[in-house]
Structures are given as C-alpha cells and as structure tokens.
C-alpha cells in the first residue's frame, strides 16, 4: 500500500485485513474485466482533498452524541449516519440547454435496537437538543415495536457482530464531478446533440450528465467510525427519429453505463464520436423490419444482459424477499431458504458473483451502513444457488455468523436495510468473443442495450426489450429488426445459457434506480457480464392496431 494511501486509511483491528482481502478478492478472477490502463492515475491526492473538503467530518461529534443518547436511553445497539447527498443534473434537448439542477440534502439518521425492536429517526436541524430528542424518539419507537414482537411471540432483533473499524474510503477519481462547471458540461452535451441531430432523419436528441456525491459518516455503538465519499456519474443520450408521414418513431439510447467514478469517466467516454452513430441507429431502427415472433436463440450483449441479471438473479437472492418481508410491494422470491446448495437455476456454465469491492461498481464501498467490510462471494456456482445477500439482522435467520455487508439507506433519512451488491456473471473459460457467439448461431437475434422490461414479483416470468436488434442467419448479422422483446422464466432462461463470452468481453452496466422498500428507496448498483447466448420466446411488441 502506498504511504499516501495509508495516511487516509487509519484502520483499526480487522477492518484493515477485510479491506485488503477485498482488494485481493476483487482481482481474483483473472482477466475478468477490462485491462488496466497503461498509466494508472494516482488517486490518493484526490482522496485527501475530498476528505479535507468534506463538511461532514466536522460534525462527527453530533453522530457520537446521537449514539450515546440512544445507548443512555436504553438501546442495545445504535448507529448514526450523517449523510450529505448532492445530486446534479445537466441536460440538453436538441440545441437547447435545460435548467441546471443541484440538490443537496444533509441530515442525521439514527437507527437503534431497543427491547428487541427496530427504531429510527431522522432530522435535519442538528442542535444538541434535536439530536438527543431524535435518539430518544428512535428508542421509543424501537421499544414499542419490541414490545409488539414479544406480545406476538415473535423473535427479537439480534445482530451478528462485525469487526470494529475506524477508517475512510473515497471513490478513486481524478476530478470531482462537482468541480466541473455546469456550463462546460452543457457545452459538451450541446456538441454531442448537434452531432446526432446532423444525421438525416433524426428529429430529437436528448442528452444529459448526472452526478451524485454521497458523503457519509457512520458511527456505531460497536465503536466503528467510518467516513466514506462515493462519486457516481451517469451519461444519457437518446436520439429519436420520427416518420411523420407514416406516423411512426424510433428511439435509440446510447449504451454507456453509469459508473462509480469521477468526471474523467464522462469526459473520456467518447460520446462526441459516438453521437452520429447513435443517430444512424435510430433512423435504421425506424425503418427496420418488424420481428417474426417465436422461440429463438438470442445473443445478448453486456449492455442488455446486465439488467436481466439484476432482475432475475439480483432480486430473488435478497434474503428479505425470500423471507416474505418485502411481499407487500417489491415482492417475494421464487427461491426458498432450503434451496441453498440444492437448487439448480442455470446451466453449469453459469457463475454469478456478488462483489462490493469491484472497481467502478456502483454498489462498491469500503464498508456498508452498519460497519461491515465490503466483500465478494458466490451466489450461483456451476449453475447452483450457493449464497444470499444479507445484513447483520438477517445472518442468523440462515444460521450464518457474519453479515455479507449489504446494508444501505438512501440519504440520511432512509432506514438502512438489505440492498443489492454488484452481482455479475463470470466470463467463460473458452475466451469467446462476441463474434464467436454470433458465428456459432444458425438462426437468432443479437440484442444490445437496455429497453423496456417487466418481471413478476417472484422474479420468475420476465420480458426484456433492448435498444438494437440484429437478425442472425447462418452465423452472420443480416438485417436490423424492431419491436423485439424476449420472454422467459428465470430458470429456463439461465438453463438455456450455452455460450458465454471470455474475459475480454466483460463489461459493466448499472443503474442509480434500483428500487425497493417501503417507503421507497433507491440503491445504485452495477452488474458485469460478457455477452451470452440463450433460448427465449421472442415476441413482437409492435401491436396490431397500426
């Protein structure tokens, strides 16, 4: 570890080892992602600057005070999170900039266990009295809920231990996206939009950059104190071609994913160079042939497959869904606790890994929101279910002694609960390229990008569309198609997986909008994958009215 990094990772006890093993583990599957850049930038200065500029650190005493007040009030566990969320949106439509939006939200969330129940309170005004009152309110709430659990004869909340850690972690970055003036971002977007608009047949272009900075200080009654700064950025480029005479239109989204990164990621994406191509795709899609429905071979690009992984593997392996706790809104799972180690959900080629240490992953952290170090573990190995996503509250439900570190609350006022880590499909050992998959396909469709999707509440029956669709005949891409969606159920789909691209084809996709919980909260998460080949029921979504 370079000394300048060590300077910012003043880590106590086991935290250090967990962090290091996280790094080591993330490098374990050889060649599973992009080759490293030739010149690795030094991020340590940026991390130092980010921490030094953070207004959150100076309020650490407020978080300590909240935890102390909760423990004094009878809590058996307490954690306090000071969170400063900053969100910026710069967008353009054709040659016009949209109003810039910057949202800041800062406050304290205090979560407690008392009398075996959960309680939580969140405030923005951080006077000593308000902090103490909030801690007491959280304890009152926890006691009422603990008493109800007892009266109902239900098990009380019991947390598995987590090693104590005092440390900091900052998203590796060169440039804080909030240091780049909105007008500079808008100018770049206007140029991108102009290039797309210049394509004959293009009617509308929408482009934007989103940036989120999450500055978080966690203090737990175990003694952990963790200050982390996460930077997340996302590009958007949507080009629409309209055929006014025939009354039709087609839209095409750029496929560049959101990323845990600084401004340099957006700067270096090359959207300027891609813009005209995206415009051409939109026009081509408008005039593409409508798909013939039927059971077909589909070759799914990483830009399409990541969302299918999210919905069909990410969600059903959330333990709270499995236990019925999310039944009222997000839903349950087709998986049951006893399926672990037993249930086959894919072909033997299928290996899916949960990983909160993955570089660039939107759910990558140093520690989760209850102080558990980031880790990497298997969810599906050789096609079989072998792991769950858990928190400290949930580990005991399945007889485990440690949490998988999946606790997250959005902002200071979202109650932390189990949220999805980065879940990724591992590359195949054969080293196939995308071309290999296409060449090996007699009759099928190559699908790229994220389109409309829908999946049932047990994460079983699903339907996904995409951005571009190419007919494959005798191993060649023959013509563009439109109105394509593929329908399947999770097990049939993953069981039909018969080819997976090699390490060189592995890409990340991701979203800021992983929704779950009541009240609703958004989580940011990435999914890596190579292209892969499946069999699915392809339907035509064009309808018959027109």
């Amino acid at each position: 570890m370079p000394s300048s990094r060590r300077q910012f990772l003043t880590i106590s006890s086991v935290g250090s080892a967990a962090w290091l093993s996280g790094i080591a583990a993330s490098a374990a599957p050889k060649g599973s992602r992009e080759p490293a850049p030739e010149r690795a930038p030094s991020y340590d200065d940026q991390a130092a600057e980010a921490l030094a500029r953070s207004p959150v650190a100076s309020d650490a005493d407020i978080a300590r005070r909240a935890v102390q007040a909760a423990m004094d009030g009878g809590a058996t566990y307490a954690d306090a999170r000071l969170v400063l969320m900053r969100r910026e949106q710069v967008a353009v439509r054709d040659d016009r900039a949209r109003p810039v939006s910057l949202r800041e939200h800062y406050g304290l969330g205090i979560r407690v266990v008392a009398d075996g129940g959960w309680g939580f309170a969140a405030i923005q005004a951080l006077s000593d009295r308000a902090v103490v009152d909030a801690a007491k309110l959280a304890v009152t709430s926890a006691r009422a809920n603990g008493k109800l659990r007892k009266d109902l004869g239900q098990p009380l909340v019991e947390l598995v231990p987590a090693p104590v850690a005092k440390a900091t972690w900052v998203t590796p970055h060169e440039i804080d996206p909030f240091d780049v003036a909105p007008i500079d971002k808008a100018e770049m977007l206007l140029e991108i939009a102009a290039r797309a608009k210049a394509v004959k047949g293009v009617s509308f272009v929408e482009a934007g950059f989103s940036a989120v900075a999450e500055d978080k200080l966690l203090v737990t009654s175990d003694g952990s104190e963790l200050h982390q700064i996460f930077l997340r950025v996302a590009p958007q480029l949507t080009v629409t071609a309209v055929d006014r005479r025939r009354g039709g239109f087609a839209s095409r989204d750029h496929e560049a994913p959101a990323m845990l990164a600084g401004w340099e990621y957006l700067r270096d994406l090359g959207l300027r160079n891609d813009a005209a191509g995206v415009g051409e795709d939109a026009v081509r899609k408008l005039h593409a042939a409508s798909v013939e429905p039927g059971v077909k071979t589909v070759v799914l690009a990483p830009s399409n497959l990541w969302l299918t992984i999210h919905e069909s593997i990410g969600h059903p392996t959330e333990l709270d869904r499995v236990m019925g706790l999310e039944a009222d809104l997000a839903g349950t799972s087709f998986l049951r606790p006893e399926d672990l180690g037993e249930r086959r959900i894919g072909s033997e080629r299928v290996n899916l890994v949960a990983d909160r240490t993955q570089p660039g992953g939107l759910a990558t952290v140093g520690w989760d929101d209850e102080g558990v170090a980031a880790q990497r573990w298997d969810l599906v190995r050789d096609g079989k279910l072998v792991g769950w996503q858990t928190t400290r509250d949930q580990a005991k439900w399945i007889g485990e002694s440690a949490s998988r570190g999946c606790c997250y609350g959005e902002g200071h006022d979202g109650v932390p609960f189990q949220r999805m880590p980065n879940v990724s499909l591992q590359p195949g050992p054969e080293g196939y390229t995308t071309e290999d998959l296409i060449n090996a396909t007699e009759d099928g469709i190559y699908v790229t990008g994220r389109g409309s999707w829908s999946i049932d509440q047990q994460r079983y029956n699903f339907q996904f569309s995409g951005q571009t669709f190419w007919e494959i005949k005798r191993g060649r891409l023959t013509r563009p198609l439109r109105d394509v969606a593929y329908q399947a159920n999770t097990i049939e789909f993953w069981s039909s997986c018969d080819m997976i691209g090699g390490p060189g084809t592995y890409r990340l996709g991701g979203t800021f909008g992983d929704g779950k919980g009541q009240p609703h909260q958004s989580n940011s998460v990435s999914h890596g994958c190579p292209p892969a080949r499946f069999t699915a029921n392809v339907i035509n979504t064009g309808g018959t009215d027109q």
Partner: protein, 442 residues
C-alpha cells in the same frame, strides 16, 4: 417540521429577500412522516422523519438553475440563494425559459385531519398489531406498511405569487399470502383522514381473497373479456394520465398525435360513457391545488362523453401553442354506475377477473402499449360466478383499450393502493384484453 401558512410566508419572504435577481422562485416542502413496516408476523423497520426542503430557482435572463437545500437558518438560506444565482450565471441559456408566474388564485382545499397529526410510535404499533393479529386469526401471512404524514408545501416568487397547501395522509397496506404460498391478495387504504381506517377489515378482505386465490389453475393465454377491480383500473389509468402530454402529441410522439400533425383533442376516441376529470377540491378525496411550480390545478375534464377534451402541458408549450395552462393533474376521477364489483361479476358471462396489475412498463408510446403482470388474485368467471382462481398472466395491451372497449362500469371508489395521485375509479367490464403469457408467480 410542519409549516402554517404564516410561517411558510415568512420563510418564503426570507428567501426572496436575499435575492439579487428579479426572477427568483422558492418552493418549500415541510413534512413530518412516520411509518412502521411489518412482515412474517412481526413489526420490522420503523421511523420518524422530520424534514424540510427549500428549492430555489434563479434565472438571469434565460439562464436558470435550481438549487435545493435542507436548512432554513438565515445563513443557510442566504447561501442557497447565492449559489442558485451563481449557478444560474454559469448555466447555459434555456430558450424555453418562461417569465415568472404572476399571482394566481387557487381552489380552497381542506385536506388536514388532526387525528393523523397525533399518530406516534405507540399508535403505529397498536394499528399494526391489530393487522398482524387479524392475519394470524385468518391463517395467512401478512406484510405491509403503515405510513402517516403531515405535509405543507408553499411556492412563492418576486412577482407576487404565493401558494400554500397543508395536508395529512395516512395509509395502510396489507399483502396476505396463504401458508402454502399459492394464494395472495393485497388491500390498501389511503386518505387524508384517519377515521375510515380499520386494520381488521382491510386484512380480512385481503385474507379472504388470498384464500380464494389459492392453488390457481393454469389457463391458456389469449384475448379474454375481463373484469378489472378499481385498483387494476387505477394502475392502468396512471399510465394514461402520463400519456396525456400535449407536447409529445403535437410532436408526433404519442398515442394522441394526429397523423400528419397536430393532436387528437376533440375526437371521440372512447366509449361514450367514459368521463375522466381531475378536481383538487373534491370534498372526500382532496388533492393538491397547485403543482411544484405553483401552477394552479383546477377542475379539468380530460375526457367527456368519450371525447378527448384536453392534454396537459408545460408552461412553455402552453404559451407556444396558445393553450390553456394545464399542469399534469394531482387527482383522477372516472365516472361510473352504481354496481359494486360483485354485482358486475354476477352480470358477467365468462372471462377473467383481475384484482390489480404490477410492474407496468411502456412498450410503445405511440399506441400507449404497455406490458405488465396481473397480481394478487386472478379468477375465472363463468355465468356470473367465480369458478376458480387462475394463474397470473403477463399482459400486452393499452389503457386505451379499457376506455374503448368498456362494456359496463361499476361504482367509483378510491384506489387504496394508489398513494401518489388521488385516484377514484370504478370497476370495469372490458370486452377483450390481451393476456399474452402465463406467469407462475404468486
């Protein structure tokens, strides 16, 4: 925190007093929210969230920026205004920028209930305890959320605009599942007032329907006559409201675009019995009298006698096209008859009863074609009787189908699971609806 009208005015004025540009708008939202979740027979997470957000939108010429913060002290307010103005200067010109709204009048809306403001952790545990015990007695596993909120919103600018609205909302949902995992149903209550909330009634209703939906039989996908419960109608009409956008229609990008240009306002698009309107001042189901920008919501007839009467718009688009200023509505009412769902069923020959929809996503905005799934109780009806539960379906169809192919309309009621927009709609019998594949999920 919550804000009385005079406190909101004082806060808005404090922000405006800091402005150095003439075109500055502030939106305030102050809320006190509490919730308790439950599942697997026990209360789970719970919380009280006290918060305020101040959104300051500053414009210098056509350069606009909005900065949102969460502190109300003098220094923080001054900083917020300074940053909004500074950011506006750094922002690119927005050719669609509109001058500030002038003083406006708003419908009088009574939407506060003292009983809701008094709910606390003890009261939450009591209400949720009653729900859990009822579910236990009925032999089902229940999961859901109790939530209550006291909310005040205000908007003001330097051109004399000031709007204030205070409301309360309480909601309880319950998803009941049978022990074998093959039956499920969901019930919900939402209102500005606490008085109608009886957890036992809500849970019992869901529990009975869950048991009736147990061990569903497979049935082939296809086009079927359907009866949609009010919640299912609400789920689809939510998509419909989003689709009523004037700009997208005028630009040739929506189901309401006229081929060759323009939109379909004035055309008889639907069954002549279809009446759709919004009304923030409805006494039973009040809704916000203005949108986030302070644009007034009035009573608006969107569809009258099956004729499309209006599309909602942005201020820019309304101005450009010479349209009446119509923001997206805060409520939706659909007219109907007097029959309840059971009466509609008994008059129905043969087809499928759908309780609600789930995971609705757009497939083709040009036709307002969406996909999604049925959930929480889908039944086969034959000769006016519920014969058996059937497995859930994925559908590929449009809310427009409902309005075109409606055969019978029942008595409108508040959709208890629609907590975002006030939605009061009837159960509907529809002559055909595309159920495209079977879903095994329960």
């Amino acid at each position: 925190m919550t804000l009385l009208r005079k406190d909101a005015k004082r806060l808005v004025d404090k922000v405006l007093a800091q402005a150095s540009v003439g075109d500055l708008r502030v939106q305030v939202s102050a809320s006190k929210r509490g919730h308790l979740r439950y599942g697997a027979g026990r209360p789970t997470t719970s919380g009280d969230v006290d918060g305020v957000t101040l959104a300051v939108t500053a414009s210098k010429g056509r350069r606009t920026a909005t900065v949102t913060g969460s502190r109300t002290d003098d220094a923080a307010v001054a900083e917020l205004v300074r940053r909004a103005e500074g950011l506006a200067e750094l922002s690119p010109e927005d050719p669609e920028h509109m001058p500030p709204l002038a003083e406006a009048s708003y419908p009088k809306v009574r939407a506060e209930d003292k009983a809701v403001t008094r709910l606390d952790p003890g009261a939450r545990a009591e209400l949720v305890g009653r729900a859990i015990r009822r579910a236990e007695a009925d032999g089902v596993a229940a999961a859901g959320l109790l939530e209550h909120e006291q909310l005040a919103t205000a908007v003001g600018n330097r051109s004399g605009l000031f709007a204030h609205h205070a409301c309360t909302q309480v909601s309880l949902s319950a998803t009941c599942r049978t022990e074998d995992g093959t039956g499920s149903a969901r019930a919900g209550f939402v209102s500005h007032a606490l008085s109608g909330l009886v957890p036992e009634i809500l849970v019992s209703d869901a529990a009975q329907r869950a048991k009736r939906s147990q061990l569903p039989a497979p049935r082939d996908p296809g086009r079927y006559p359907v009866i949609l419960a009010p919640q299912a109608v609400a789920d689809l009409l939510d998509v419909f409201v989003g689709g009523l956008d004037a700009r997208r229609a005028d630009e040739g990008r929506s189901a309401f675009s006229r081929k060759g240009g323009g939109n379909l306002v004035g055309d008889a698009l639907f069954d002549s019995r279809v009446e759709l309107w919004s009304d923030p001042a409805d006494p039973n189901d009040p809704a916000s009298p203005f949108d986030r920008g302070g644009r007034p919501h009035r009573k608006v007839k969107w569809v009258e006698g099956g004729v499309l009467r209006a599309l909602h718009n942005s201020r820019y688009w309304a101005d450009k096209q010479g349209l009446e200023d119509l923001p997206m509505p805060s409520s939706l009412h659909m007219g109907g008859g007097t029959d309840d769902l059971d009466a509609l069923v008994s008059g129905f020959d043969r087809g499928i009863l759908i309780s609600r929809f789930w995971y609705i996503r757009m497939l083709d905005p040009q036709q307002l074609l969406v996909t999604g799934l049925t959930r929480d109780g889908t039944f086969w009806i034959d000769k006016g009787k519920v014969v058996e539960p059937v497995r859930n379906f994925r559908f590929n169809d449009s809310p427009l189908t409902l309005l075109r192919k409606v055969v019978a309309l029942g008595r409108p009621q508040r959709a208890g699971l629609s907590t975002e927009r006030v939605t009061v709609v009837p159960p509907l019998v529809v002559s055909e609806f595309e159920l495209s594949s079977v879903s095994d999920a329960v």
